[in-house]
């Protein structure tokens, strides 16, 4: 028995990789779905956007790239669906150059789905380097940072942008974060200009953003694939995130069982010594 337990604590890593891969693949193939109720902070974010009057401007900041795409892309799409369903206007920009096209592709896809018109219902500004400098100057005048949109069209010729000059004209800023840009948004846009911020983040940095939520510096927090799945549930459009959560459950249980197995093997070996 002891030898079996020792062996159980020493499984080859490639077998573990295979087990994890098979667990994910199987749950996706069988399209298993487990129900859950949305987290309070996600419900709060949903309510804030839902309560915005039609025509309000929501600014999205794409601060992630392909390495965080599976978590934040479904989140972005669900939120865009919500905004377009509520006839909110969308402005998109970003601080991660390698990920900005992902935001643009999602925006174009969802806008097409809701028959929204570029320039009137949504605008894509693009990217400018400088991070905090961009955030501060956006608070004075957007045109000082983005004189044109990403195609080179002057902002004043876009109907949506005619009455949008700075944060005072933006109802909510939604930051989709994979790094520390969310902190910069809070420290500059919220602290100096009282801009209301909802942060959607990868699960890695979500725990670090709870202090902002408790302090009221952000009004909503959507964390990881669970947050994306909750938002999809709230907008009644389950998609990739909802499908992925079942795999998440299975793998989490698997990892806990592996940790348990490792500990059993460890204590069995320790006893022997």
């Amino acid at each position: 028995m002891r030898e079996f337990l020792e062996k159980a604590g020493n499984i080859d890593r490639r077998i573990i990789y295979l087990i994890i891969f098979l667990a994910v693949a199987t749950t996706i193939l069988v399209k298993a779905r487990f129900k859950s109720s949305p987290l309070p902070e996600v419900q709060r974010s949903y309510k804030i956007i839902n309560d915005l009057p039609s025509g309000s401007v929501v600014m999205f900041s794409i601060d992630y790239d392909a390495s965080s795409m599976p978590e934040l892309d479904p989140m972005l799409r669900a939120m865009l669906r919500h905004c377009f369903k509520k006839n909110l206007k969308v402005i998109m920009l970003g601080h991660w150059p390698l990920g900005l096209p992902l935001g643009q592709l999602a925006l174009d896809d969802i806008a097409r789905e809701y028959h929204k018109k570029y320039g009137t219902d949504y605008v894509f500004l693009g990217y400018r380097p400088g991070l905090q400098a961009v955030m501060l100057n956006l608070g004075k005048e957007i045109r000082s940072v983005f004189a044109t949109d990403y195609k080179g069209t002057p902002l004043d010729s876009l109907p949506l942008m005619r009455n949008v000059h700075n944060y005072n004209d933006i109802a909510i800023l939604v930051g989709l974060e994979a790094g520390s840009v969310g902190d910069a948004w809070v420290q500059f846009a919220n602290a100096r200009f009282n801009q209301k911020i909802i942060l959607g983040s990868t699960a890695v940095i979500t725990p670090d953003l709870y202090p902002y939520l408790q302090a009221g510096q952000i009004v909503g927090l959507i964390g990881g694939l669970r947050g994306a799945s909750d938002y999809e549930t709230l907008v009644e459009h389950p998609a990739m995130a909802s499908l992925g959560m079942s795999s998440q459950t299975v793998v989490h249980v698997l990892i806990i069982l592996l940790i348990l197995l490792g500990n059993i093997g460890y204590f069995a070996t320790r006893r022997k010594k």
Binding site: P70, Y127, M240, Q248
Partner: protein, 216 residues
């Protein structure tokens, strides 16, 4: 089931599987994929620099602006040129002037952002009432205890990382409470990190099964 006939999807699937082959053993396919990624990322930055920085801010800015707001652009243009001198060995030292500008700005913005945007609001949010009245005795105890734990956790975690004084006596006891809170925080962070990493894998497996093989 309808396997994709799009050659680009097959290229993407091949690159995905090449990268995943590293799990078995380091091999040439993984190395090539990795190097393609690094090379194209570097080129990406150059493309972004032109289309989202130099062209709209410097070139279009110079053409479309007039008077002072046009000619002042010479200064950032000059600083950018100084930055590029880093590639010219004999005069590489002059790029320090431009770097000094970015570093000085970064330091100044860092201080102001941290002070105004983090320290003060977070300290303010930690000043909480120790007694909170709820709709029942149990709720009152629960809410009050939460606030006490919040204050205790924050202060003890700060004390744990205070190394200017030796951790003996009361400081040791408080820092031991701090490490307890920190262990809970790290455990929660680990849980969320696992969630994040698995999500990334789910994304790739979904691509293989849905976009490539058409099984889902």
């Amino acid at each position: 089931m309808s396997i994709s006939l799009n050659p680009w999807v097959w290229i993407a699937a091949f690159l995905t599987l090449s990268m995943m082959s590293f799990l078995y053993k380091d091999n040439i396919f993984y190395k090539i994929g990795e190097h393609i990624y690094v090379g194209s990322s570097a080129a990406f930055m150059l493309i972004y620099l032109w289309y989202f920085d130099v062209k709209p801010k410097l070139i279009d800015g110079f053409i479309n602006n007039t008077g002072f707001s046009r000619w002042i652009l010479i200064i950032p243009a000059f600083l950018s040129l100084l930055m590029l001198m880093r590639f010219v060995r004999p005069v590489a030292w002059i790029s320090r002037w431009a770097i000094a500008f970015t570093v000085g700005m970064g330091a100044g913005l860092g201080i102001t952002g941290l002070l105004q945007g983090f320290l003060v609001p977070q300290i303010k949010a930690t000043i909480l009432p120790l007694y909170v009245s709820g709709h029942s005795t149990l709720m009152t105890i629960y809410l009050s205890l939460n606030n006490i734990l919040l204050i205790l956790g924050t202060l003890s975690a700060i004390v744990y990382f205070y190394f200017s004084k030796e951790h003996t006596g009361p400081v040791k006891k408080i820092s031991q409470i701090g490490i307890t809170f920190i262990m809970v925080a790290f455990g929660a962070s680990f849980g969320y990190t696992v969630m994040a990493r698995i999500s990334l894998l789910i994304g790739r497996v979904y691509f293989l099964l849905h976009n490539w093989l058409g099984l889902v």
